[in-house]
């Protein structure tokens, strides 16, 4: 069974909660006591029916205000796959939450109200999905029951979205006409959309090809922790543990160590369950080398003929998280793979309108939820790839040095 992570974004009334509620309910992932608690709360508030949104709104403030503030994680499984939903709010003022939810997703689920067609919010979700390089996008044209399951209307929205998406960096888009409320094409195939020959949403989620979502080409192993047992049995043991960020490593491979540039051979790849012949993303392993070399956290094991950028100057697309705007010439802590460094913001190149893709070269004010392209210089070299090439070695966090709060997520260009 594989694990698939997908993200949803939306606001009140677009049917997102109903859709999630249906996926959970129809796959029997809502338990009776949860359902009972939601039913009681709905009744106490004097509302009708069962408000499935209460299942995803976990915090007191969210339940009181009837809105999703934060990313909520939901879990369900079918016999084929286990799913993790990152459910995020859809308004502009929650762009940062959408970005957070999108950062680890394999699939972006975008909801369109069939009556309204492609609106600003739809575009915003798609732009963020493209910016965060979510490998697959599934566009659900919802509330088909309210447009009489009209094929022309579906095609119109389909074409509208495709025209808009041609400006984005998205490679795999699918479209499904659904009614979350009535269940059409969600889990079961609808008999009201005979003109539609594609899969149901659940079938799509169960079968979309995600095995190649990781980079298996460029070998990247950031050293996370050095294991030295200091026991009689493992006296000279020196293992470099970490999670493979890219490529396939094999016992006996020639490797290069960064930053030193020394070369060595992989003596063995260890796990608690025994030695493995090969290691690939996202495995957590411990590597032992033939030679006794100095290597510590933040260093990287790569191949001599395929090295990442080893640089101190980078251009980033950032999503700003903090109420305190970005400071030009300001200094921040920066986290990248297992490295911890400092950086200075050299230039704010442009701000991007997250609704239209428009680039504003003049506006230098980058505040909360803004997306901008900036140039930075780091205090020490980072071993990095473009985010497009590898989401793990291409991503950074910026941290305020005074408050230690995470102020931005950055993607290396």
């Amino acid at each position: 069974m594989e694990l698939l992570r997908f993200t949803t974004a939306g606001s009140v009334d677009d049917g997102k909660s109903t859709l999630i509620g249906r996926l959970l309910y129809d796959s029997k992932s809502i338990f009776e006591d949860q359902y009972e608690q939601v039913r009681e709360t709905t009744e106490r508030r004097g509302e009708e029916g069962v408000n499935l949104a209460l299942l995803t709104d976990g915090l007191k403030a969210e339940r009181e205000q009837g809105i999703t503030i934060d990313v909520a994680y939901r879990y369900f499984a079918t016999p084929k796959r286990k799913f993790i939903i990152a459910d995020t709010p859809g308004h502009t003022q929650y762009t940062r939450n959408m970005v957070t939810g999108a950062s680890t997703a394999n699939v972006a689920l975008i909801l369109i109200d069939a009556r309204q067609g492609v609106v600003e919010q739809t575009k915003r979700h798609a732009i963020i999905a493209s910016l965060l390089q979510i490998p697959h996008m599934v566009v659900c044209i919802n509330k088909m029951d309210l447009v009489d399951y009209n094929e022309d209307r579906y095609n119109e929205i389909h074409d509208d979205f495709e025209r808009f998406a041609s400006k984005l960096d998205v490679h795999d888009i699918s479209f499904i006409p659904i009614s979350a409320l009535l269940g059409d094409n969600v889990v079961d195939r609808s008999d009201k959309t005979e003109w539609y020959e594609g899969p149901t949403l659940l079938y799509y989620l169960e079968n979309v090809h995600i095995a190649s979502d990781y980079n298996f080409i460029d070998c990247r192993f950031p050293v996370q922790f050095v294991i030295r047992p200091n026991t009689d049995e493992f006296h000279d043991y020196r293992g470099y543990s970490g999670r493979i960020a890219g490529g396939i490593y094999r016992k006996g491979d020639e490797v290069m160590l960064l930053p030193s540039g020394f070369t060595s051979k992989i003596a063995r790849i260890d796990t608690f369950d025994g030695e493995v012949e090969e290691a690939f993303p996202p495995m957590s392993v411990t590597m032992l080398l033939d030679d006794d070399l100095d290597l510590s956290r933040g260093d990287m094991i790569v191949r001599a003929n395929n090295v990442p950028r080893n640089d101190q100057d980078f251009d980033l697309m950032v999503c700003w998280f903090s109420e305190k705007p970005i400071q030009l010439r300001g200094k921040y802590s920066i986290l990248h793979t297992t490295q911890d460094a400092r950086c200075v913001v050299k230039e704010i190149r442009y701000k991007m309108d997250v609704n239209t893709l428009h680039r504003d070269m003049e506006d230098q004010h980058v505040g909360m939820n803004d997306i901008a392209r900036i140039s930075i210089r780091t205090t020490k070299p980072l071993f990095a790839d473009a985010y497009r090439k590898n989401r793990i070695t291409g991503s950074v966090l910026l941290i305020d040095e005074g408050t230690h709060v995470t102020v931005a997520a950055g993607m290396i260009i």
């Binding site: 069974m1 594989e2 694990l3 338990f31 009776e32 006591d33 608690q37 709360t41 995803t56 976990g58 915090l59 403030a61 339940r63 503030i69 934060d70 990313v71 994680y73 939901r74 879990y75 499984a77 796959r81 286990k82 940062r96 939450n97 970005v99 957070t100 950062s103 680890t104 095995a211 298996f216 996370q224 922790f225 294991i227 047992p229 200091n230 493992f234 043991y237 543990s241 970490g242 999670r243 260890d270 608690f272 369950d273 090969e278 996202p282 495995m283 957590s284 802590s333 986290l335 990248h336 297992t338 793990i392 991503s395 950074v396 966090l397 941290i399 230690h404 709060v405 995470t406 997520a409």
Partner: protein, 300 residues
């Protein structure tokens, strides 16, 4: 060869990564150990993360004095096998010293008293990170929890002001006196835990399996009879075949009627059950936001 991991191996790898990140980023971490299956899973994953070295941090058990005897016996055996240090924060001792007051009445429980003793133990040991086995699927407030969850100098959680968490970059930076709670198995569900324990052949306390026990029913919850719990006159004790889905205090952990006497049968049961595992926890039933309220104060 097929280059993909099944969901259990992927979850395992994610958890190991987070546990190693704690060892790398913090000076003095500790693993909160309750004796339940999730904290046993945590010790197992920690063992995997540092193999062949020992787990480089101690275990901390907040002992209410109302434990199932099976839990304590299991704990002591496990600690000896892993060769780790065990620190016990005693609720009884805090009551005896007058630092906290025992609840009174029929539904009295030491559950909420644990928070004070936990915070005291963390401060006394100078721990800057406390690893816990909480999962997001357990409870709605926990669904919003981060892997690295920041706590202020009073040990409080501020759910509306959490640090965003992206990719696999974890920001463990903090001021002196603050600490982090870290939840490496956040993305596991109850079924994942059982499937994993079954596949890996991990040993658990016997009370997770069906057994005969003296029990009585209160507010629809089956409770084990013990010297720690005051019964009402109409509450009749009878022999039942039960097992526990979670293990907490004897006073507030509900049992479920079950014949599942092997891990395979438990996986089967969990896969088809229609009630959450915390459905039997009296401590969660005190109010709709019981968990969020306790978590803000510094509960696990």
């Amino acid at each position: 060869m097929n280059y993909h991991l099944n969901h259990l191996k992927e979850l395992e790898s994610e958890s190991i990564y987070v546990i190693r990140e704690v060892a790398a980023q913090f000076e003095n971490p500790v693993l909160m150990f309750s004796g339940g299956k999730d904290s046993i899973l945590m010790t197992y994953l920690a063992q995997k993360a540092f193999y062949p070295a020992r787990i480089p941090f101690p275990l901390l058990h907040i002992d209410t004095g109302h434990n199932f005897p099976e839990t304590i016996a299991f704990r002591d055996k496990l600690v000896e096998r892993l060769g780790v240090r065990l620190i016990v924060g005693s609720v009884q001792e805090a009551i005896d010293n007058g630092r906290i007051q025992e609840e009174k009445g029929f539904n009295a429980s030491r559950n909420s008293l644990q928070t004070a003793v936990l915070l005291e133990s963390l401060e006394k040991g100078g721990y800057d990170a406390a690893l816990g086995g909480a999962r997001r699927d357990e409870e709605k407030a926990r669904a919003k929890e981060r892997f690295f969850s920041h706590r202020d100098e009073f040990g409080q959680w501020d759910p509306k002001n959490q640090r965003p968490e992206l990719w696999n970059l974890f920001n463990g930076k903090k001021h002196f006196g603050e600490h982090f709670r870290v939840f490496p198995i956040s993305n596991w569900t109850e079924l994942d835990v059982w499937q994993y324990l079954l596949t890996e052949g991990v040993d658990l306390p016997s009370i997770y399996l069906a057994h005969q026990r003296d029990c009585f029913v209160r507010n629809g919850v089956i409770l084990a009879d013990s010297e720690f719990i005051m019964k009402r006159p109409e509450e009749k004790v009878e022999k039942m075949t039960v097992r526990f889905r979670t293990i907490g205090d004897m006073t507030c952990t509900g049992a479920s009627l079950s014949d599942a006497s092997s891990f395979e049968e438990i996986v089967e049961e969990v896969a088809t059950t229609r009630v959450t595992e915390r459905g039997g926890r009296a401590d969660d039933k005190r109010s709709e936001t019981a968990m969020e309220d306790r978590k803000k104060q510094g509960y696990f």
